[in-house]
């Protein structure tokens, strides 16, 4: 029998790992979105939320390191599969079409590497902008904290930035659409044609919710100049 | 050479046990010193190769297809018989034996058939243990269904894919031995000749179908499991690669060809739709349980079948055979379809079809019932013909399906050439003049799993075989001959294609050596085949070269052999002045139009010895008399 390490590197193992890391990232995204939505809460809700996270100290670092690892493993597997794929079919088809249902081959599934790489680049810029961006300090209920909310609102006054975000969030939706289905299928290790159809639909709804949730924020801020009714000030 | 059938003495029920008690054995350690060639990977070949390799023999296995799993056996649909008596309906080994002998119209060897019935149960055990997913009852135990020619339910089945599942079982056992290194596997290799050295079969010559390379292979024994020769008719239910080449080349090296004229024509196939048609598709005969066969009473009636009123239809089987009706045996159903179409009452665009109508059954039992029972067949029919059989009657017509004839073998399955064994459809052994449904799978697996492992050991253990290297004169000669034959084919460079010749041969065979035969037609057929053969060697055009993949070159070689075999089939049919099973001679029928046997003069196996003289093909007939010690010969009647 192969060792667990060998097993993890096998075709099946890779896929399971990709599924697990994908799901972890998916969960992270859900919480991230919920957190972001505090922007639409009370005046300082977003800043308090950010500050609470920052004050977790070492735990936050551990969490971040874990997240980066998960992210890298996920990306590594994806890139490795993609690189291998060319070797697996050195001469391509002159004409290639999908048979259609029950195939799950779509723009989503075929562009995973592309959307994935964009998401990777995006993540770096995103962290640079918001984690290491210039912020003012403010005092809320006697506690000093970064005014991240202002940073967010200011950033999304730039139309290019907003477009960039919207495009990437749409791509995120595509990535999640196939990713959710794929991870679930790999991990539950079951599913006939009917279950597959259900899982796929649920995955698509999830993807749309996430994409719309994330892109709504910059769009709204930009459209209302940061002073919309949803944003308390 | 003599025709010693080598059947053990004694009571029918004791014969096989007695043989097993008396055979020579090869000690376990010595088996690895023997090399065995197995040609063919159908049910017979795969089961034999796997079983022999398990015992320790070194096996070399060959097949034409790119994988052993694609052998023609994969296409068998209906089922496999065994005398398990699970339904508790009174089946016994004796009954299975008796039905098979009677179904074969008393033209097979009692001892072989009894052994087959005896072994049948073990085959089911073996297949189940291998994971063959036979149909089961809700309680988890095996299910059975009934098939033609029997009054008990003894057929085991795996939906309509029994052959596929049994072959995959055998193939998997075979792959296991490849894994353990006991089988050398040569797919995409065609056997072109047998090497007979010092009077014994010691090897074969093959062509690598990818590189075109001709090679010699040496062995201590050769097992031929190369299937039947139904493709002599061009159109048949056989796979396109099914052929007689391996058997025919053995025949030319001295092996006797037995009963070549016994060819089974299956009544329920999808009719031909045009000249371009390349093959015919079988529809399980179980359809005749609910379908009613008819043609219009008037000639050339071109109305839509649903517009032809009841009183203008002729349900000819029900009319002529009131007690069996639509369920008469295959040969009777086929012959009657030919009669009504010959009268000009056939239906469809070509006029070469009869209706199989389910309207009554649908009305009586409901569409759901029919769908549940025959859904996949109806779908297949719909796919191929683009007609919906729920709404209009199916069109069916007989097609060549199985060949009972084949190389002559003794009780041990050895041909008259020592060391050459013949298994499965390629031998002539167990089905006499007509094979019952679900018995070919049984025979192929019986031969491969449970007969050859013992009888081969008996031969090897009892012979003193000298070492062969492959450079002996016999090998040299066989290889040169194979190469010359190929060169000859390529060098004709004529203007007619191989397929055209094959189609022409098929037409002669179908018209004159087909469902029913008569002296005049057979004599014409012999002449026409000879002429066609001469024309072939003057006008055939084989494209491409020999040192590459070349399907048309393969076919050319096979058609050349069919052109010789066809003549022998006609000669055999001509000499057999009686009707027996599927061999129906117009001159020999009862007043009611049924097959009339002549047991006095023709109760024998006709084994032909090849004698090619000055380019003329000649044959000497040897007779193996069939003694019926245990059953009484009767006239079949289905009225």
């Amino acid at each position: 029998m192969p060792s667990l390490v060998d097993a993890a590197r096998s075709q099946v193992g890779r896929k399971i790992l990709s599924g697990i890391t994908g799901i972890l990232l998916g969960i992270f995204i859900i919480f991230h979105l919920i957190g972001n939505l505090t922007l639409f809460g009370s005046e300082q809700a977003f800043n308090i939320y950010s500050h609470t996270l920052e004050s977790m100290g070492i735990f936050l670092y551990l969490f971040e390191i874990g997240l980066v690892l998960v992210f890298l493993v996920h990306a590594y597997i994806g890139v490795a599969i993609w690189l291998r794929k060319r070797k697996r079919r050195p001469v391509g088809y002159e004409k290639y079409s999908s048979m259609g249902d029950p195939s799950k081959q779509t723009f989503s599934s075929r562009s995973m590497i592309f959307t994935g790489i964009i998401l990777l680049i995006f993540t770096v810029t995103h962290v640079a902008t918001f984690k290491y961006g210039d912020t003012q300090m403010i005092t809320v209920d006697g506690t000093q904290m970064k005014d991240l909310k202002a940073l967010v609102i200011n950033t999304f006054q730039n139309p290019w930035y907003v477009i960039y975000y919207i495009v990437v969030m749409i791509l995120l939706g595509f990535h999640l659409r196939h990713g959710a289905w794929s991870a679930f299928t790999s991990l539950t290790m079951k599913g006939g044609t009917k279950t597959s159809a259900v899982v796929y639909t649920v995955g698509t709804i999830f993807a749309v919710l996430m994409a719309v949730g994330f892109l709504f924020i910059p769009l709204y801020i930009y459209a209302t100049g940061g002073t919309g009714a949803l944003i308390a000030s | 050479m003599s025709l010693a059938s080598n059947v053990p003495e004694g009571d029918l029920k004791e014969k096989w046990t007695k043989r097993l008690n008396d055979i020579n054995l090869v000690a376990p350690n010595n088996k690895r010193l023997y090399n065995v060639i197995v040609v063919g990977t159908g049910l017979a070949g795969a089961s034999a190769a796997a079983s022999l390799a398990e015992l320790g023999y070194n096996v070399q296995s060959f097949c034409i297809q790119d994988s052993a799993r694609r052998a023609h056996s994969i296409a068998a649909q209906g089922g496999i018989n065994a005398a398990k008596n699970y339904p508790n309906d009174g089946d016994t080994i004796w009954r299975l034996f008796y039905d098979t002998i009677k179904g074969g119209d008393y033209r097979s060897r009692e001892s072989n058939v009894y052994r087959l019935a005896e072994i049948s149960n073990e085959i089911i055990d073996q297949a189940v243990a291998q994971g063959v997913p036979f149909a089961r009852e809700y309680g988890g135990l095996l299910a059975n269904r009934s098939f033609g020619g029997a009054q008990v339910s003894r057929t085991f089945y795996a939906r309509g894919q029994t052959g596929q599942q049994l072959l995959l079982g055998a193939y998997q056992a075979f792959m296991k031995e490849i894994d353990s290194g006991k089988i050398d596997y040569y797919p995409r290799h065609e056997m072109l000749d047998l090497v007979v050295h010092n009077g014994k079969a010691r090897g074969i010559v093959t062509r690598d179908l990818v590189s075109g390379e001709i090679r010699r292979h040496t062995a201590d024994a050769v097992l031929l499991c190369t299937g039947g020769y139904g493709n002599a008719y061009y159109l048949s239910t056989n796979a396109k690669n099914s052929n007689v080449t391996a058997a025919w080349r053995c025949h030319k090296r001295g092996a006797y060809f037995a009963n070549p004229c016994y060819v089974q024509i299956h009544p329920t196939c999808i009719p031909q739709s045009g000249d371009y048609q390349s093959k015919l598709t079988l529809m399980s005969e179980s359809l005749r349980n609910d379908g009613r066969v008819w043609v219009p009473k008037d000639k050339n009636d071109e109305r839509h079948p649903n517009d032809i009123p009841e009183e203008e239809r002729d349900y000819y089987l029900e009319r002529k055979y009131p007690s069996f009706g639509n369920l008469v045996p295959r040969d009777v159903a086929s012959r009657n379809a030919k009669y009504v179409t010959d009268e000009g009452r056939g239906v469809g665009e070509t006029g070469k079809a009869v209706y199989l109508d389910f309207a009554d059954a649908i009305e009586r039992r409901g569409r759901d019932y029919i769908e549940e029972k025959y859904g996949n067949l109806f779908e297949m029919y719909h796919k191929i013909t683009d007609e919906n059989p729920y709404e209009r009657p199916m069109r069916i017509f007989p097609a060549v399906h199985y060949t009972m004839g084949g190389l002559w073998v003794d009780y041990n399955l050895m041909s008259n050439i020592p060391g050459l064994f013949v298994l499965g459809e390629a031998n002539f052994s167990d089905h006499g003049g007509n094979r019952l449904g679900a018995s070919a799978l049984m025979q192929g697996l019986a031969d491969g799993y449970f007969v050859i492992p013992y009888t081969l050991g008996d031969y090897l253990g009892g012979e003193d075989l000298d070492q062969v290297e492959g450079n002996e004169e016999a090998f040299e000669e066989a290889e040169n001959y194979a190469q010359e034959h190929i060169d000859k084919l390529l060098n004709v460079e004529g203007d007619k294609t191989v397929v055209e010749f094959h189609q022409e041969l098929g037409k002669i065979m179908w018209d004159k050596v087909g469902i029913s035969r008569d002296e005049e037609g057979l004599k014409e057929a012999i002449k026409e085949i000879q002429e066609l053969r001469d024309e072939f060697w003057e006008r055939v055009r084989v494209p491409g070269e020999s040192a590459n993949y070349n399907k048309y070159l393969e076919f050319a070689g096979r058609v050349a052999d069919f052109l010789e075999l066809g003549e022998l089939m006609a000669k055999d049919a001509l000499h057999r002045e009686e009707s027996a099973g599927c061999h129906f001679r117009e001159e020999y029928q009862t007043e009611e139009g049924e097959a009339l046997r002549n047991d006095e003069e023709f109760s024998y196996v006709a084994a032909f010895e090849y004698q090619g003289l000055n380019g003329e093909i000649q044959h000497e007939l040897h007779k193996e008399n069939l003694e019926f010690e245990f059953v009484e010969l009767k006239q079949r009647s289905y009225k």
Partner: protein, 252 residues
């Protein structure tokens, strides 16, 4: 009356042998009947080519009734052509538009090298099967068949997986050239039956490893394989393969 004078523009991959470079060749076909099968249409083309002294097009087939798995053509970008659950030997010309262009290519995958024109080498499938795709049963040692009861439901499911005809369309259609559906179908068939449980761990591990060794790609759950599979093997076979594999590595 059926239309028996259809015309087609064929664009077919021609390749002398495994070592040569291939290229497309175009042929114009007339006089095609809508009742011809796709392979009979190619037969007709070859008859014409041979009569003209040209090289025929090589393609694989045997049973021509959808059971042997030999036929293997990618027709207009789809393995086995446009009709669902239908291998190309059971595809009829009535499925096409008169006058249409039809592109015909071989299965394309590193693990299925081209032998000639449209014929490929699928021996990798045999080697996957040899790596444990069986239940070890010595001939003669089997117990009485009905001592092994199998739940009807399991037997039926096992059967569904066992109907794989080994054609390789799943690999041909997969964007990654993965053989997971084929391998999964055999693992699923055998692991569902009580007879097959004893060797299940080793079987799953060895077959999965062999699949990789042969150069088949990873499964990315595109599920294109299920869509082109001529016998409708469900991708639940792949799920079962993963389960068997994980069970083998975690339980030992």
């Amino acid at each position: 009356m059926s239309n028996d004078n259809m015309q087609f523009d064929l664009k077919i991959w021609k390749q002398e042998d495994g070592d040569s470079q291939g290229a497309f060749q175009e042929y114009h076909m007339e006089g095609v009947s809508e009742d011809m099968s796709f392979l009979e249409m190619l037969d007709l083309l070859n008859e014409k080519l041979i009569k003209n002294g040209d090289e025929p097009v090589e393609f694989d087939y045997d049973c021509r009734e959808g059971i042997c798995g030999a036929c293997s053509l990618v027709v207009n970008g789809i393995a086995h052509g446009p009709k669902e659950e239908t291998p190309v030997c059971e595809l009829y010309m009535r499925e096409f538009e008169d006058g249409q262009e039809i592109v015909i290519e071989p299965w394309r995958a590193a693990a299925f090298p081209v032998i000639k024109d449209l014929v490929v080498d699928r021996s990798a499938f045999d080697r996957i099967m040899a790596a444990g795709g069986y239940i070890s049963t010595k001939t003669g040692s089997a117990p009485e068949a009905n001592t092994i009861a199998v739940d009807k439901e399991d037997a039926d499911k096992a059967f569904d997986y066992a109907t794989c005809i080994g054609c390789g369309a799943c690999v041909a259609a997969c964007p990654n050239s993965s053989a997971s559906l084929f391998t999964g179908a055999k693992i699923s068939h055998l692991s569902l039956l009580p007879q097959g449980k004893h060797e299940r761990k080793e079987r799953a591990v060895r077959m999965v490893e062999q699949m990789e060794k042969e150069g088949f790609g990873d499964c990315s759950n595109h599920a294109e394989c299920e869509a082109v599979c001529p016998v409708g093997i469900s991708i639940s076979a792949i799920a079962r393969m993963r389960k068997e594999y994980m069970r083998a590595v975690t339980e030992s």
